[in-house]
Amino acid sequence: MKTTLEVKNLHAGIGATKILNGLDLVVNAGEVHAIMGPNGSGKSTLAQVIAGHADYEVLDGSVRFNGEDLLELEPEERAREGVFLGFQYPVEIPGVNNAYLLKAAVNAKRRHLGLDEIDAFEFLKLAREKMATLGMDPIFLNRGVNEGFSGGEKKRNEILQMAMLEPRLAILDETDSGLDIDALKTVAAGINELRDPTRAIVLVTHYQRLLDYVEPDFVHVLSAGKIVRSGDKSLALELEKNGYEWVKEAVNA
């Protein structure tokens, strides 16, 4: 099995605050991993560090992506190599057409891979197909990026972008938060659609409920910046039943 992501002894923080304290994680192609943990345990930090957010400083350790040193790359280079981050709070970019951004993103990646740019007709056809499966009105293509979108619409838009960009590694940061049950099912269907032997997916989530629809191969529990428990999907159910205190106690015992 091919290793997509290999995080070793990662220490990282923001400003003077240290958040990750020696985190190890290996994700192979074709696998779906869920990372769970209480607020402040470092879940989002891990996602942001992998994507290359400038506010986070890596203090020690390494992150390798398909064997390459990911930390050496600019955020846009990571993206073009196939790292996708589904944001917890997708930002609004008024005035920039959603389709325009999406097409620019697809073509930036295609150029990087030495492929011809996709033309407008092909792009629209593809985008409409993907939108149909996500239950999105094509009108969203012509709106400003996330401009005036509801929480659920923003999350669907993230999944649409993921579907169009076909990443090698998708990290979805609390994609389930703020979704009603119907939206959750649609988003989950979108994620399942992308499950593929060549693709690794990391779901960052607080709750079990997303995992009812997207079944993970592995579940990790993050606490104080380290993975303290790993297991299969039954671990998520245990957590749901016993709460995070149970993990902390188990670790401290």
Binding site: A51, A79, F87, V91, I93, V96, A105, H112, G144
Partner: protein
């Protein structure tokens, strides 16, 4: 792994591309201004007596005026006696009839500016009246325009060839008494463009002039007059870049537009005067009076401007909506970066019945730049059924710049419908990271956001100009995000 602030700095501090000086010998008056200088300018241009009289009246009036201080602009006092008021290329006496006869050095300059004049003119089918320093040196496409009865020539030529039109219309929209800089321009204007579109004629091509400033310490005072007779139509494009300079250069132009019954004038500008260095040293002081008079019923005047240059910009292209059902439009994108300052906007004066005006102003500030929108909507008592829609948006890049809005409304007729919308937004680090996470470079992301912000204005520009304007904006703001 993240944005390197040094790299951004170096991009912000990129040198102005068009900064160089050609060494074509210029015949330049010594610095200073008095009646003799005004007489000498007029004599150099072989002007008829009425023109000299008008210049002198303007000069004497200017002496009684004070430089305005109300604008939100800060710059050292201009010493008007330190400026030279005339410069002409030597080849003036034998004005070339074709590009072959043009001084090759001059053509080389255009090449350096990225404007291969002959190529562009030929390929785009645009008539070009190129103003280099103060005297026009190349005029093309005259034949085609002649056939249509359109007059498009240097202003100095029109003074001699069409004195009746000049007498009738010069100063009829912007009187020499209008303001300090208009008075100065009226006294010492060097040259500019004259356009006359006869009754019922649709000008067969878009008219374009490229202005350049190219002699040290020489203020350039252009004068442009466009007259659209009944039922005629013209689109005029003006664009400029200027060489780098250490001293501040004063630029005080006047543009007058007259639209008679059912006539339409579309005036588009891309302004890229040298903005000064990152500390605000050098750069053009641009004090411009642009005004259009919708004199006849159902006439329309539309201003579209993309302002990226100048150290100081003081400019309010305006419309006087005198004719019933006349329409005035103002679409503006103004970019200020580093230490640039701009106080710009428009005036819409509603006089006729059922007149309407639209104002769309997009201001972008970066670096330590300060930008103000200043707009007046005045509805006169007799102007029943007047309508105005104003949209005024500001975009801030970085933390040290400023945007200010000064809307004035004087509504003296109760039937008026006036709408004003204003927004201020910022390009945030989160927006840029979001784009980069999708594989789009930071520069492309800034361009995307800025162009998205400006698209309402760009769509008003003629096609080839829109592309140029977009490119210019990208260059002006390159690396402005830190």
């Amino acid at each position: 792994m993240s944005t390197d602030p040094n790299k951004l700095d170096s991009l912000v501090n990129r040198r102005y591309e068009h900064g160089f000086v050609t060494d074509i010998e210029t015949e330049t008056f010594p610095p200073g201004l008095d009646e003799d200088v005004v007489r000498a300018i007029s004599a150099r241009k072989n002007e008829p007596p009425f023109m000299l009289e008008w210049r002198l009246k303007a000069y004497r009036h200017w002496l009684t005026m004070k430089e305005p201080e109300w604008a939100h602009l800060h710059y050292p006092r201009i010493n008007y006696q330190d400026i030279s008021y005339f410069a002409a290329p030597k080849s003036d006496k034998d004005r070339p009839q074709s590009l072959d006869e043009v001084d090759p050095k001059l053509l080389e300059t255009y090449e350096k500016l990225g404007i291969p004049l002959h190529e562009r003119a030929r390929l785009a089918g645009v008539a070009v009246d190129a103003v280099f320093d103060s005297v026009s040196v190349a005029t093309t496409f005259k034949g085609k325009l002649n056939d249509a009865g359109v007059i498009f020539c240097p202003f100095s030529e029109a003074v001699i060839e069409h004195p009746e039109l000049i007498k009738k219309y010069l100063g009829s929209v912007v009187p020499y008494r209008d303001n300090y800089f208009a008075a100065l321009n009226s006294a010492v204007f060097s040259d500019g463009s004259f356009v006359y579109i006869p009754k019922g004629v649709r000008c067969p091509m878009e008219l374009s002039t490229y202005f350049r400033i190219n002699a040290a310490n020489t203020g350039q005072f252009e004068r442009t007059l466009i007259i659209a007779e009944e039922g005629s139509h013209v689109s005029y494009l003006e664009g400029c870049t200027a060489p780098m300079r250490d001293e501040n250069q004063l630029h005080a132009a006047v543009v007058e537009l007259v639209a008679l019954k059912d006539a339409e004038i579309k005036y588009s500008t891309v302004q890229n005067w040298y903005p000064g260095d990152e500390n605000g040293k050098g750069g053009i002081y641009n004090f411009v009076t642009k005004r259009g008079d919708c004199r006849g019923a159902n006439s329309k005047i539309s201003w579209t401007q993309v302002e990226t240059g100048s150290a100081i910009t003081w400019k309010y292209p305006s419309c006087i909506l005198r004719g019933d059902n006349s329409v005035g439009e103002f679409y503006s994108v103004a970019v200020t970066n580093n230490m640039q300052q701009a106080d710009t906007g428009t005036k819409m004066i509603h006089i006729g019945r059922n007149t309407s005006s639209t104002i769309v102003s997009k201001g972008i500030s970066a670096g330590r730049a300060q930008q103000s929108y200043r707009g007046l909507v005045r509805v006169m008592p007799q102007a029943t059924g007047a309508r105005n829609h104003t949209q005024c948006d500001s975009l801030l890049i970085g933390k040290e710049c400023g945007a200010h809005t000064f809307p004035y409304m004087e509504i003296k007729n109760p039937t008026a419908k006036i709408e004003h919308e204003a927004t201020t937004s910022k390009i945030s680090a989160d927006q840029l990271f979001y784009c980069r996470q999708r594989g789009i470079s930071e520069e492309d992301a800034v361009n995307m956001i800025v162009n998205g912000f400006c698209k309402e204005v760009f769509k008003e520009l003629p096609m080839e100009f829109a592309v140029e304007a977009q490119a210019l904006l990208n260059v002006s703001l390159e690396g402005a995000v830190g």
